[in-house]
C-alpha cells in the first residue's frame, strides 16, 4: 500500500468502524438527553470518527492506548465490547469498569485501552510512561496517546513529550484537534503556531493530517507506527478535525460562529466523505446503507440490553480500592 493508494477492504473497514462509533454515540446521547439513563456528562466525538478508525486499524490488540474524556470512539475502535461500554455509561453491572468509571473513565485493559481521563492532559505523561514500561520490558508493543487541542496548553504536554524524546520511547502522541476547548476556541488561548510546532521544537517527528479523512489518517498512522515499532522513536500526529456537537451532550454550543457547525456537517463530515470515496471506488448505495443500518441496529439493540442490566452490587463501592488497609474501617 502506498500512502495515497486505497485498499477497498480497508476503506470498508474504516467506514464500518466510523458508522459504529457514530451510532454508539448517537444512542448514548439519546440515552442521556431523552431517556435520562446516563447521569454523568458524556462528551461525544461525533464528527471526529476518522481519527479513531484510522489510528486504531494500525494497532495491534496488545498495543497500548490512552485517551481522554472524549474517548468512546477510540475505545470502541481499539476493540472494546460496546455492550460493556454501554453498561459503563449507564453505570451498570458488567460495565467495563464495573460501573465505577462511567464515560469519562472508560477503559478496557484486555484490548490495551488503559483509560480515558477526566483531567485534560494527564494522559500525556502516563502514555509516555506506558511506552517507557514497554521498552524496559523489552516488548515490541507500542503506545498511542490521544489528547485534544486544549491539552497542549497544560504542562504535561511538555513534560510527556520531552520524556518520550529523552528516553526514545515507542509512543505516538496524537493531538486530535477539534478546534474547541469546551466553550473556548482553542486558537484564542494558544500562543504561536500551535501543536505541531511545539512538538517539533521538543524533538519529535511530526505529521499533520486532515483528521476528517479516514484514509489519510490510516495511511499516515500505518507508516508512523511501522517506524515506531522498528525503534525509530516517538512521533507526533496533528489530526485536524471538528467537534460537530457541543462539548457535552447537554451543551447547545451557541457560542460557535453562526453556520460553522452546519458547514462542517454538510461539507466535511468524515463518514459522508468516506461514503463518497467508496462510492467513487464503485461501492453501491445499498452496500453503504447497509453498513449504516447495521451499525444503528447493533447499537440500538445493545443500549437496550445495557439498560435492562441491573446496577452494580452496593458493596462494590468498597472494592478495588487497595490491598493494604480496609476502605471502610474508619467509616462512620
Amino acid at each position: 500500500m502506498t500512502s495515497t493508494g486505497h485498499n477497498r477492504a480497508r476503506s470498508i473497514t474504516l467506514l464500518v468502524m466510523m458508522e459504529r462509533i457514530r451510532a454508539f454515540e448517537e444512542h448514548a446521547c439519546l440515552a442521556a438527553e431523552r431517556d435520562k439513563l446516563v447521569l454523568g456528562a458524556i462528551h461525544p466525538s461525533i464528527g471526529q470518527e476518522a481519527s479513531a478508525a484510522g489510528i486504531m486499524q494500525a494497532l495491534r490488540r496488545d498495543d497500548i492506548l490512552l485517551s481522554t474524556h472524549r474517548g468512546h470512539g477510540h475505545t470502541l475502535a481499539k476493540g472494546a465490547d460496546p455492550l460493556a461500554m454501554y453498561r459503563e455509561l449507564l453505570g451498570r453491572e458488567g460495565g467495563c469498569c464495573g460501573g465505577k468509571g462511567g464515560s469519562m473513565h472508560i477503559a478496557d485493559f484486555n484490548v490495551g485501552m488503559l483509560g480515558a481521563n477526566g483531567v485534560v492532559g494527564a494522559n500525556i505523561t502516563i502514555g509516555a510512561g506506558a511506552a517507557h514500561g514497554l521498552k524496559l520490558l523489552g516488548s515490541d508493543r507500542i503506545a498511542v496517546d490521544i489528547f485534544g487541542d486544549g491539552a497542549v496548553n497544560r504542562g504535561p504536554f511538555l513534560e510527556g513529550l520531552n520524556w518520550a524524546v529523552v528516553f526514545d520511547l515507542p509512543v505516538l502522541f496524537v493531538c486530535e484537534d477539534n478546534q474547541y476547548s469546551a466553550t473556548t476556541q482553542t486558537k484564542s488561548v494558544t500562543g504561536g503556531p500551535g501543536p505541531a510546532a511545539r512538538a517539533e521544537a521538543m524533538g519529535l517527528r511530526v505529521t499533520v493530517v486532515d483528521g476528517n479523512n479516514a484514509e489519510e489518517v490510516a495511511n499516515a498512522v500505518d507508516e508512523i507506527t511501522a517506524r515506531i515499532r522498528s525503534g525509530e522513536g516517538p512521533e507526533f500526529l496533528h489530526s485536524i478535525t471538528y467537534r460537530q456537537t457541543g462539548h457535552t451532550s447537554f451543551d447547545l454550543a451557541g457560542y460557535r460562529p453562526e453556520g460553522e457547525a452546519d458547514r462542517h456537517k454538510a461539507e466535511d463530515d468524515p463518514i459522508a466523505r468516506q461514503r463518497g470515496l467508496l462510492a467513487a471506488m464503485g461501492a453501491n448505495q445499498g452496500e453503504l446503507d447497509a453498513i449504516h443500518a447495521n451499525a444503528q441496529e447493533e447499537m440500538a439493540g445493545l443500549i437496550k440490553q445495557a439498560a435492562a442490566t441491573s446496577f452494580p452490587p452496593d458493596d462494590t463501592a468498597f472494592s478495588d480500592v487497595q490491598d493494604l488497609g480496609s476502605p471502610i474501617r474508619e467509616a462512620f
Binding site: 446516563v38 447521569l39 454523568g40 456528562a41 459503563e88 453505570g91 451498570r92 460495565g95 469498569c97 460501573g99 465505577k100 468509571g101 462511567g102 469519562m104 473513565h105 481521563n117 477526566g118 483531567v119 485534560v120 492532559g121 486544549g150 491539552a151 496548553n153 497544560r154 504542562g155 476547548s181 469546551a182 466553550t183 473556548t184 484564542s188 488561548v189 494558544t190 457560542y255 446496577f311 452494580p312 452496593d314 462494590t316 463501592a317 468498597f318 480500592v321 488497609g325 476502605p327 471502610i328 474501617r329 474508619e330 467509616a331 462512620f332
Partner: protein, 321 residues
Amino acid sequence: MAKMTYVEASREAVREAMQADATVWCVGEDLGRGSVFGQYLGLQDEFGKDRVVDTPISEAGIMGAAFGAAMVGTRPIVEMRFSDFALCATDELVNQIAKARFMFGGQSRAPMVIRKPTGMWRSSAAQHSQSLESWYTHIPGLVVVCPATPQDNYSMMKAAIASDDPVVYFEHKNIWGMEGKVDRNLEVEIGRAAIRREGGDLTLVSWSDTANLAIQAGDALATKGVSAEVIDLRSLWPWDKEAVIASVQKTGRLIVAHESVAVGGFGAEVVASIAQEVTMKTPPRRLGAPRSLVAYAPNLEDQMRVTADMMVTAAMEMIKT
C-alpha cells in the same frame, strides 16, 4: 432582601466587588460563557475581557499568574472549575501563594480568592467529586471557607475578596440552585460559625452542604424529642472553636458530620480539639465518607454519602447511652 440562588449570590458579590474596586478581576477557563455552572454569567459583558479573563486550560498557569498579578497590586478571583483540577496547581497554591508573605518576611501579600466548586454531584465519578477542604486547613497561610447558603455565599464571598489573605473558597456543586433570602448589608466575619438551630441535648457540627443536612437532622430529632444544637462552621480556617466549645459544654455530646472522607478529614480536628477541652457525657462521633472513592453508578455513589438519617441514628445512639 432579595431572593437569590446560591450561584447568583456569589455572582452578585463578585459583581459588586468589581464595581467598587477596579483592581478586582476574574480569571479562569470559559468565564466568558459563564463557566461550568453559570457563576460568571454576564460579567464579561459588564466588565470586559480584561477583567473577566478567558484562559487556556492551564490551572498551574492560572494560579501562578494570578499570584504574580496579586503581588503587583491586583486582586484576582481565580476559578478552578472543579476543586479536583486545582490539584494541577498545588505547588502554586501551597508552596508559593501560601508561603510568600512569610518567606519574604512580610514584603508581599496575595489577596486572592481561589474558587473551588466541590463535592459530589450526580454521577461525576472519582475525579470530579472530591471534598478536600481539610488539606488546606493544614497549610499555614491559607484561609478556608465553605458556605452552605445563599446568604453566606454572598457575604463570605465579599469578605473573602476584601481579605488580603489567599482564601480557598469551596462552593458546593450540589446547591447552586438553592434559593434563599439575601441581605446585602449583612456582613459575615470569616471565622464565625452560625448556630443554625439551638438545642440542649447534643451538638451537631458541620459545614458546606452537609450543614443543610444537619438542619434536617435537627428537625427530625426534634420530632423524636431530642433537641440538637446545629452549628454550621462556615469557615474551617479560622474556625469557631469557641462556639463549638460553648455548645458542647452545654450539651455534653458532639457529632461532627462532613461529606469528605472521614480519615484525615477536618472532623478529626474538631473532635480532637473539643476532646482536649471539654469532658463529654458520651464519646464524640464523626460522620464522614468511607475511605473509598466516589463511583459513577448512582447507587455506588450513594454509598459514600453522609445523610441526615445517619446523623439522626448516631444522635439517637448517643442519647440512649
